[in-house]
Every structure is written in structure tokens, then in C-alpha cells.
């Protein structure tokens, strides 16, 4: 597959702050891509660099094979859906959607046909003659989406598209956006600070940290094989043990040896972190790693039990998720539990990023 958009060592500084610090990135055809990261990591700036609202201080922005680094936003074959939606309040839904096509000076019948088409796939046909002020939040979001989609961009850029919606609607729209992307076959590039959202929707995720890409890959890869402690901590929940790397794993100052595979780039004797997901921990004595713990709290969450256990000599408590199907569990806060996990379910990482 060829790259639709190719960022080459792109840099953007605001005064003394480097918002985007030499990022190289390819967006492929027909993929759902997510730029993920904490606020201030440069993900929105990166999106605006692609849209053309920011000019890089160094590097190039290639779109569909041609250098568009200095091209105005209105001449780029990409469209941006704004976080505030930025709908035109004095125009009806249909007029909002038609606006971009009128700018292309298309014939009236063609505009009408394409507007009707896109209103149909975004389930807005019944609201074509309403003004934005008379729409719900979810409907407004779909108008913004339709207005950008109708231009048939090479890439649709979405800046925190679900941030303004309430939780239930957000979860529903995550799947809706994914279905829509599949249906129209346009590459979507979404900016989000919500790791769950990125995991649910994206084919590939670029997790950003301080203007750089910390890790880029499919959701499973970021979740199962985080490349750094930052990635491990940002995506999902994680338990950490700090110690020293050895050939067999990690030597913990109080717990002794915790087995794990020594990754490339980490050598024996270096400070290291062993990371284990809550759902990989079990109440068992037969695993090749185990620790004695005291149960602090139990939370029943429907599908699973969330356990918080304290380990002697460990500052942070461990988090443990037990599927209800493996129960029934009879656990009481205060009781002692032996917690174990398989060595291959843990990741050994450099202690600092």
C-alpha cells in the first residue's frame, strides 16, 4: 500500500516550545489512524500541519505524492472536522453541507445529489432544512462530519470529534465512525486523548509524547507490547515493579527475582521496570512468578471483579481483574492472597523513557 500522506521530519515550534519535534509518519490508503497522547503532546498541531493551518519550521508534508508543505488549506485534498464543529449558524444543515461543493463551482444538480447522498449515510436526511441551533449535540457532530465528507477528501482529519458528546453517545459514535470509514473507504485520521477511543476505533495508533512519536502500531501491539514505560502506563491499566535487569528478568529489591524476557536494548545490570496487565494476574500459587499480598479492596463491576492488593515492600498497590466466569470468588478485604502470573505475560522495559 502506498502512503497517502507522508510527513518527513516535520518540526513546529511556538516560541521556545517545540510542539512537533521531527515527526516522520505515513498515512496509508483506507485506514483508520489515531494520533493519541496527553494534552500538549503536539497531536493537534500535527493534524493542523496536515490540514495546512500550521506551517512546519522544518520538514515536508507530502500529500498523494506531491509536496504540499506551503500549499494553502483550501487547495489541499484533505478536510478537517473541527472540535467545536464550527457549523455556520445562519445556514441550514443542507446549506452547510453544500457550502464546500459550491466552492468547487459544481453544477447545481450535482451538488444536490451529493448533499442528499451524504445526508443519507449520516442519517441526517430528515434534518436537512433545520438550522444547527435546533439540533442535538450528536446531530451537530454528524453535520460537521457530513460537511467534510461531502468534499470526498483523500484524508478526513478529525480533531477530538467525540469530545463534546456524553459518554453513552460517545461509545455509540465510536462504532458509528468506524462503520462510516469502512463504508466510504476514505482514510480517517483522528486526534484523541482518550486511549480507549483509539483502541476501539483505530487500525493504527501513533502515541505521542512531548512532540515525538513514542510508539506507532496496531492497537494490540501498543497494548500487548509497549515499547516504553510511558506507553505501558498510558494505554490501559498497568502494574509496575521497579528493579534491576538481569538475564532471567528483574531483580526486585524486596521481592527478589521476577522472571521475564530481557528485550533488545536492555542489558543486565540496568535499572528496569517489569510491567504486567491487571487481567494477566491470577490468584494462584503455580505460576512462575508469585508474590504474597494482602487484599485491600474489592469492586464488583458486573463482568469482572477488580481487586486492589498491597504487597509488603511495594509502595503502589497492585490491580487485579478477575473474570466473573472464573468464580465464584469468596474474597474479603484483609485476607492474604498469593498472586501469580506467567513470565511471558509481563514486559521488561527500561526504567525511564
Amino acid at each position: 500500500m502506498s502512503a497517502l500522506i507522508s510527513l518527513q521530519s516535520v518540526e513546529r515550534r511556538f516560541g521556545s516550545v517545540t510542539a512537533v519535534d521531527g515527526v516522520s509518519l505515513d498515512l496509508l490508503e483506507n485506514e483508520f489512524f489515531a494520533l493519541l497522547g496527553p494534552s500538549g503532546c503536539g497531536k493537534t498541531t500535527l493534524l493542523r500541519l496536515i490540514a495546512g493551518f500550521e506551517q512546519p519550521d522544518a520538514g515536508r508534508v507530502m500529500i498523494d505524492g506531491s509536496d504540499m508543505t506551503r500549499v494553502r488549506p483550501r487547495h489541499r485534498p484533505v478536510n478537517l472536522m473541527f472540535q467545536s464543529y464550527a457549523l455556520f449558524p445562519h445556514m441550514t444543515v443542507a446549506a452547510n453541507v453544500a457550502y464546500g461543493l459550491e466552492m468547487e463551482r459544481l453544477a447545481k444538480p450535482e451538488i444536490k445529489r451529493r448533499v442528499a447522498e451524504v445526508l443519507e449515510i449520516t442519517a441526517l436526511s430528515d434534518f436537512a432544512n433545520r438550522k444547527p441551533e435546533r439540533l442535538s449535540g450528536g446531530q451537530r457532530q454528524r453535520v460537521a462530519l457530513a460537511r467534510a465528507l461531502v468534499k470526498q477528501p483523500k484524508v478526513l482529519l478529525l480533531d477530538e470529534p467525540l469530545a463534546a458528546l456524553d459518554r453513552q453517545l460517545r461509545e455509540q459514535m465510536q462504532l458509528e465512525l468506524k462503520r462510516l470509514q469502512h463504508e466510504v473507504g476514505i482514510t480517517f485520521c483522528i486526534v484523541t486523548h482518550d486511549q480507549e477511543e483509539a483502541l476501539v476505533m483505530a487500525d493504527r495508533i501513533a502515541l505521542m509524547q512531548a512532540g515525538r512519536i513514542a510508539q506507532l502500531g496496531p492497537p494490540q501491539e501498543l497494548y500487548e507490547a509497549p515499547a516504553s514505560r510511558f506507553v505501558a502506563g498510558f494505554i490501559g491499566r498497568m502494574n509496575f515493579f521497579e528493579g534491576t535487569a538481569t538475564a532471567e528478568g528483574l531483580t526486585h529489591p524486596t521481592l527478589g527475582l521476577l522472571r521475564g524476557a530481557l528485550p533488545e536494548g536492555l542489558s543486565s545490570g540496568q535499572a528496569a521496570t517489569l510491567a504486567v496487565r491487571p487481567e494477566r494476574l491470577r490468584v494462584t500459587e503455580t505460576a512462575n512468578n508469585s508474590v504474597q499480598t494482602t487484599l485491600r479492596a474489592v469492586a464488583y463491576r458486573g463482568g469482572d471483579l477488580l481487586l486492589e492488593v498491597a504487597v509488603a515492600g511495594l509502595e503502589d498497590q497492585l490491580e487485579l481483574r478477575l473474570p466473573i466466569t472464573e468464580g465464584p470468588f469468596t474474597v474479603e478485604p484483609g485476607q492474604t492472597l498469593t498472586i501469580g502470573w506467567r513470565a511471558e505475560d509481563s514486559r521488561l522495559l527500561p526504567a525511564s523513557d
Partner: protein, 256 residues
């Protein structure tokens, strides 16, 4: 409740009593404030035959229209610039200054300024003076409207393929139009009956006498029934304008 209602009644009596009296007297055939001689429109007829008043009214209309047009355009552009760039508090204070400094000070300042630049005084100098204070009012009204303006709309318009001018006429202006209309109505109302600044910066003779100046010169020989008729017309016009301004900003007030 009773004392409060009495208070309210007194307020309205003092506000509107004289105005109603004026309107009634303008219809008084006898022309004397002390005796009712039956209703007639004879003072309105006399008004229609008074060429000096008509000339002054025309001058006032010219001053108000031109200064409203220019000040609304400049004030709107100024408001857009200032709101977008988020200027300093000092700049804000400078923008509000023409609204709060006493008219007499502004009048004297403008007069000395014209004298310094050797601008000969005429109807044009009144127009320029009125533009000066009207820009400040127009700008303030439009800025209030812009507080709820989503600037991302401009980027959205560009993203959808619109050049800057198209964005201005199809997105920015329609979105703030209620504010612009309100600004224009306010500017017109302020200009049409402005006296002090016009009096100081007017040229000699009838050619640059505005309506308030004409009324002032007539009233020195006593209030004539003609002036009652004129004032009544004035009152009705400004009332209509104010109602229109409220309708416009009320009806579309929650748009942006």
C-alpha cells in the same frame, strides 16, 4: 406593594408626561400652551412650509447617513481585528475613550485639530466628527456580538475551499449581521440629534446647519408650536428605530 407601585407610577409620569404633553400641544390649534383650541395639523403644515427647517433636516439626514455608513463599516472591521487578536487592556481603553470623554471636550479637541490641519469647517467636518465617535459605539456593539463568535468557522470555511473574501461575505458577515445592524441603528440615532460636536465643528451659514442647531436658534425666541410638531416627528422616528433595533437583535440574538 403599594408604595412601590406609586414609585413606578411617578417614574413613568416624569418620564413620559412631558413627552405626551408635547405631542398633545403639537396638535393644539390655538398654539398656546395654556388654552386648547381644538385639534388640527396646522403646525405640521407650517413645518412643511418652513424651508430653513427642511434644509436643516436634510443636512442632519446627510450627516447621520454618511457617518453611520462609514462608522459601521470601520467599526465592524475594527471589532473583528481587535477581538481576533485579543489586544491589550490599554488598547481597549483607547477604543472606549470616544464613548466616555465628554462631548464638549471632544468637540473642542476636534475643532483645534481641524484648525491645526487648516481643514475648512463645513458639513463635511461635522460628518468626520460624527464618524469619530460613532466608530467607537459601532465597534463596541459589534464586539459584544463577537463574544459568542466561533472563530473556527473561518478556518472551516477556508478548509472547505473558500477564499478570504468569500468567507467574509458568506460566513463572517451573516453570522454577525444582527450586531452590525444594531450598531448602525445606534450610530444613526446618536448622530441625528447630536448638538454639541456639530455646533463646534460646523461651518458658517445655513449650508452646514443641522436640525438640532436650527431648533436651538429658533428656541431662543420662545418655544413655537412648530417646534412641538418637529419634536413629535423626531420622537416617533427614534421610537421606531429603537423598536427595530430590539426586534433585529432579539429575533436573531441566539443565533451564533
Amino acid at each position: 406593594m403599594r408604595p412601590l407601585q406609586l414609585h413606578l407610577g411617578l417614574v413613568y409620569f416624569f418620564l413620559y408626561g412631558p413627552l405626551i404633553l408635547l405631542m398633545v400641544l403639537s396638535l393644539n390649534d390655538s398654539g398656546l400652551p395654556t388654552s386648547w383650541g381644538g385639534a388640527s395639523f396646522r403646525w405640521y403644515e407650517a413645518l412643511a412650509e418652513n424651508s430653513a427647517i427642511q434644509r436643516a433636516a436634510l443636512n442632519s439626514l446627510i450627516v447621520a447617513s454618511v457617518s453611520t455608513l462609514v462608522a459601521t463599516i470601520l467599526g465592524t472591521l475594527l471589532a473583528l481585528g481587535v477581538e481576533r487578536r485579543r489586544g491589550s487592556a490599554g488598547l481597549d481603553a483607547l477604543l472606549f475613550a470616544p464613548m466616555v470623554i465628554p462631548d464638549i471636550v471632544l468637540a473642542i479637541a476636534l475643532l483645534s485639530f481641524y484648525f491645526l490641519l487648516s481643514v475648512s469647517l463645513s458639513l463635511y467636518s461635522i460628518i468626520i466628527s460624527h464618524i469619530v465617535f460613532n466608530i467607537a459605539f459601532a465597534c463596541a456593539v459589534v464586539r459584544a456580538r463577537l463574544k459568542q463568535f466561533d472563530w473556527a468557522m473561518l478556518e472551516a470555511s477556508e478548509d472547505l475551499g473558500a477564499p478570504p473574501l468569500v468567507t467574509f461575505f458568506r460566513v463572517t458577515l451573516p453570522a454577525i449581521l444582527p450586531g452590525v445592524v444594531a450598531a448602525a441603528l445606534l450610530a444613526f440615532t446618536l448622530s441625528i440629534d447630536e448638538f454639541i460636536i456639530a455646533f463646534f465643528t460646523a461651518g458658517p451659514g445655513q449650508s452646514s446647519t443641522t436640525l438640532p442647531m436650527q431648533v436651538y436658534s429658533m428656541i431662543r425666541f420662545g418655544v413655537t408650536p412648530e417646534i412641538n410638531a418637529l419634536a413629535t416627528l423626531f420622537l416617533l422616528t427614534s421610537f421606531t428605530l429603537v423598536l427595530m433595533a430590539q426586534r433585529v437583535s432579539g429575533r436573531r440574538g441566539n443565533l451564533v
